[in-house]
Symmetry: C2
Subunit: 113 residues, 2 copies
Amino acid sequence: MGEDNLNPDLLPGTLYMMILRTLNQEPMHGYAIAKRIRDWSKGDLEVEDGSLYPALNRMLGKGWLKAEWGMTENNRRARFYKLTPAGKKRLEAESSAFNKMIKAIQLVMRTSS
Amino acid sequence: MGEDNLNPDLLPGTLYMMILRTLNQEPMHGYAIAKRIRDWSKGDLEVEDGSLYPALNRMLGKGWLKAEWGMTENNRRARFYKLTPAGKKRLEAESSAFNKMIKAIQLVMRTSS
DNA sequence: GGCTATACATAGTCTTGAAAGGTATTCTCG
DNA sequence: CGAGAATACCTTTCAAGACTATGTATAGCC
């Protein structure tokens, strides 16, 4: 009923950006992306499977990523994602828009006298 | 076709918080809330009608706001919204969660060596 | 053999922001 | 007076995206 969820795992609208950012460092498979984000955020951000894989597929469709199957160090079958040039451009656009947005929000939220 | 819009008017998930914040300063009608947010953000954040009024109604339903009809300084009929104690609590919860979230995202986005 | 961790996937639900359309009133200005 | 801009509200419809739940499969370990 009146469950008013606070604390979504992620701030909506930032998932693409963070995926792009992890892949900008090096190509990686999905599971590793989620782990990387969790680790870098000290456990505060949790990317759910059900958010991650659909997002990756949408991003493939947009041409920001390429994917190919391979094997992990653990000898496991996994799909490795790599940024395309369009993806790199997108990362820059998204993160600068994000920074601007955050600044604007902080202006609004700043406790004024 | 492949139009990938950047620049939504608002970062999703932050509208309630900003509405609560403006009303924490003083009771206000909808149109004024939108203007206040636009002004405080120096024009960077634009709250559309079609986002604002449905959001206000949802917030009434959640018990975060109360509303009553009155007249503006301009001699116009308008609906004035006021924070309830639950709304004030919600504002604090949301903004602290937001700050935490932002810090976590910035950890992820920080360009590492 | 059973357990845990790794790795991927999808169907279904819900929330939410935006677009598009609408009503009505006040004020200004020519 | 008439036109237009600005103020103020509202609703319907749509699309995107994040989450839940569920499922598959395999590797490594005890």
